[in-house]
Subunit: 350 residues, 4 copies
């Protein structure tokens, strides 16, 4: 069986494993105060062209999301998010568990929300005819780059969101669990520097982009920087041997490894998508990134599942199922090749 169900089935990129092994017996101070973390922070600040950004390394995606949101908001404030947003659907209510409501917006199959939608919510709250204190005050807009369904916000979309957020005093926060795939997607026009210019905070995912684990929180807005380390500790995100995170992010951001491995994964995903199209499978959601979403006839799916794991996404109708097919830094050329052949065969066989 070969796993194409997600992008975290293997360990870490070999360069990371090597550096971790090489440094294993070194002594360093704990909690992210070591030189590896310092260098990794500097690399990320440089890449973001944000010399004053605060960069913190946490372990996991759910954790970094609720830690940033909880630290940013007062108790009566809430989060505007797409209704398919990871925090709304797949994090066991972690944001609500910290006390904050998510104001979910319809978002279509791409999983994006628009500046116009945010404008409507904000205007209704701050300039509407209802007494606002009876309702949660929107304060932070959550998006994912790339989204849960593989789409990528364009620079124009982000600029529009940024403008609306500035207008109403909202924070714009981007969940970058799959940032690498988004930045290197075909047709994408956004860089980390753009993210830093347009968002108040965002994360750069390690777990799904080559690391064993780890998410970098980049806090650009100074309001979000103060005392953030307390939040990391209080929410269980402070790793005792913090250098493990520093080593990983230093490796990823030295010599462009992060981009290189994500671009390669995207390229393999395009070949698989191409095979799906050739096989006559309908696209479930258009994706220029490492996650591909196709609707397979159940017969073809059954055949393929003898050799491959995919992620079940949705039962579309009686005879069809939408699945997610993922690549990652670890996907081998051979496995990708074999899968495309088998997809084409499954298509033909119908």
């Amino acid at each position: 069986m070969v796993y194409f169900n997600c992008d975290y089935t293997e360990g870490a990129h070999p360069k990371i494993m090597d550096k971790m092994a090489a440094s294993n017996l070194e002594q360093t101070p704990g909690y992210g105060t070591d030189a590896y973390c310092e260098r990794a922070r500097a690399l990320i600040r440089k890449e973001c062209q944000a010399p004053d950004a605060a960069v913190h390394f946490l372990v996991g995606g759910t954790q970094v999301n609720f830690t940033v949101i909880r630290a940013a908001l007062r108790p009566h404030q809430g989060v505007i998010a797409p209704e398919t947003g990871h925090i709304h659907v797949h994090e066991t209510g972690a944001v609500e568990a910290t006390g904050h409501k998510i104001l979910a917006l319809p978002c279509g199959v791409e999983g994006k929300i628009t500046a116009r939608q945010v404008e409507e919510v904000a205007a209704q709250h701050f300039a509407g005819s209802m007494p606002p204190a009876h309702m949660v005050q929107p304060k932070l807009v959550y998006i994912s780059q790339s989204t849960e369904n593989g789409a990528v916000y364009t620079k124009a979309e982000l600029e529009a969101l940024h403008g609306t957020c500035r207008k109403w005093g909202l924070y714009l926060f981007a969940d970058g669990a799959r940032m690498g795939y988004g930045l290197t997607a075909q047709g994408a026009d956004v860089t980390l520097a753009d993210m830093a210019r347009l968002c108040d905070a965002f994360t750069i995912g390690g777990t799904k982009c080559g690391a064993l684990f780890g998410e970098a929180a980049v806090l650009v807005n100074p309001e979000l920087q103060q005392d953030f380390l307390y939040a990391v500790k209080q929410n269980g995100g402070m790793l005792a041997k913090g250098r493990l995170l520093g080593i990983q992010f230093e490796t990823l951001f030295q010599d462009g490894l992060y981009y290189e491995i994500c671009r390669r994964a995207n390229a393999l995903a395009y070949r698989i998508a191409e095979a799906c199209r050739e096989a006559g499978f309908a696209e479930y959601a258009p994706s220029p990134t490492n996650q591909q979403f196709f609707i397979l006839p159940d017969g073809a799916l059954g055949e393929l599942e003898k050799s491959y794991h995919f992620s079940f996404w949705e039962k579309v109708d009686e005879g069809h199922t939408a699945v997610r097919i993922c690549t990652s830094w670890a996907t081998t050329e051979e496995n990708a090749e074999k899968l495309t052949r088998d997809i084409r065969a499954a298509g033909t066989a119908r």
Copy 2:
């Protein structure tokens, strides 16, 4: 100006004021341990035919809702509610502030959810193909009786909800801020005894039904009874001079005053609704209770608003606005009569 915008513009029913004045200099123990509270609890248990129910008196509606929900749930559990439910829209995220997600369901203009909808959510969570621990576990179903839009659940609807809740181990909780109007509505077939038989917990509203303030929480399911007094205290709902609540509920449930005043308010509301229909105003939502929802031409509305306050509900289109018109125990015959005349006139005038 006459207020028809809501059902809490006056103080309390005169019988309540009298008893409060008469007992003012009496000395009683605090925190609801007095004889007035004891008698009120007994009256409510009797009315509910639920001799083992725990009855607690709290001050306000938002408070009693989040106190019951917080006490009932473990941190990973959430609330199924209609998307127009009071807890979802008009309580400033109080439920989320206690850590729990609301899983909002579409509900139409009546503000009701169905057993089938609950079944779908529960089945998808407990018997679906996703790993459930990544999602909030549905555990409590929140409904309002009567609903925010004036509708009343029938016995058959409640029985179906009850059955589904039993099947999946969910609690059924009814917010009865306007319970009195619901129980005495034309065509309603539900009694407090039915509520107690079919719900795990529900509230009986005082504030909107004749009292100065106060909501009774009726906890039928023994699982919800244990240590509830701690929850009342911790969440700020324990009134030092608890007898004030006891006096009010004792008065309301002696000799059927609660039903009598709500039935009368409903009857006045029907006359106003009749006038609206005669005036050619479209019904916004069908309501057999004290809240009436009609769509008024902006001209007619402007005319009426010179003499009356209504609640803005929604801008329906360029020239029309939906409003809520409320009656209560305190609505006078004259004011109701005058309003119906003016409505008919406003209709004709168009």
Copy 3:
């Protein structure tokens, strides 16, 4: 049986009851937006010589405490409080339930903490040798005026606390559930204007000082004012018929009623204390306010408890028990007189 166990055994001062009855059928807008509340707020601002203070009326003491504290703090911040502070001992962990640790300080029998103690905690945190992010950041100092044990902070003590709080960026918050008794105590040198000058926020208690219920939150520091109404609603403190609070506080602060009734209660308490001393009962805690704390031989106590309720405070030793004896606006001259006679008799009888 006569109750001297606490100061909330009766209803409200007759002037309040009268005004409540007189206004009962008036129609007013809800949620504290009525003219009674406006006037009450103006009276309090004037009394505090704080024209820019925000004044909000909530129902209960636990509620107003946790609402102010929750609104003031970020999640990693905590409260410095005396170890006998009401929030630390008798509010079922309501402050912790909103997420904030209480850093309790030893305080002796008077229940006061000193500027020096606060200085030590703050210096240790902000200027100590431990990494501060691993510990809760002190941000708010909670005191009670008068304290749980009846003592009153002097102006000099408050000025010292104020200075230390300013130095370290801490908020000073005074729980004034028994403010009236503190301000009118023999020897007290503090006015509401002093409170407003020296505290960032404080409450003025109604429940224990003549009202049916109600606590006024006076937010002097503008940082604490923003969006506070959301906090009131979210935490269940917004009364639908908000005028009930306005009526009560307007009555209390017109013509000095608040001071008058508390001063009178203090005076009765002094006579009871005098009787205790004459009876040879040891003082448990020195109190110039309406709560008196004496250590009674169990024989004398048993005798008195045939006619009176006191509050058990502590078992001091084999044969002695500390009790609290309270007066209030409602204590009658006769009952106080009778009690002093019986105390003297119980003392003699030993």
Copy 4:
């Protein structure tokens, strides 16, 4: 500079690093559902002689503590803990941030609490003369094995705590961040099987005992097992590449590696302690484990700090400072030897 300040200055035991490298390109399912985790769980259950215990792997110590506690308690319940307990002092109020008060007990320099102390708190709450609902209900007793000051609970002490907890319906929870050092300490008479027999839940620390990171939560009491995976996810403790935890714990519990490396660290610590005593340094706290606490003259300390890092613990008096000196699996024979020589020299030099 050689670090003796804590036990997490290096990476992981080489056997762990080897296995992690060897398995790096394997594909496994995520979130702890892989075969490594399964085997590690089985090994731990066996070692605990608790075939029905639930074993979950989380990343960090603060995280596992608040996750277990939050999942175990209802909102009005609190934690009894020693006042030097890690959750009370060094976790940034993480337990309170989940809503629960810590009822801190004095504990002396060893950091232990006794069954008698727990009995007093429980009896006062459940059988005292105050209305219990006004106070936090004690429900869970938190201890550390070994404690923050290096002490180890004996079997008799644990049995007494267990008995008291059973009597009052309290959970006994042991924080085992340094479990390995406790189990293998000279004179210790407790095994993991004893822990499982006497505690309702406990953790087995990896981070400080040879792993890169990771804490195993062993939930013995079935009440604590239900739905715990939701809690792990909601609180950010679910590692996507969960096998990393499985690999580490499997390695530690195969062939007794966990005990072997901790016993060796303890032995090195004893040699350092012996040197301290020979040098005439006073013991700050008696410790049979890898953390040693001595009071050094500031002159000797200054000399040693040219070559070594220790942890500052407390300024004892004008000229003396208490420090913590730690060993771990990674402490080399040479470094330990050199330190003992330098300590003796520093002692002589005075």
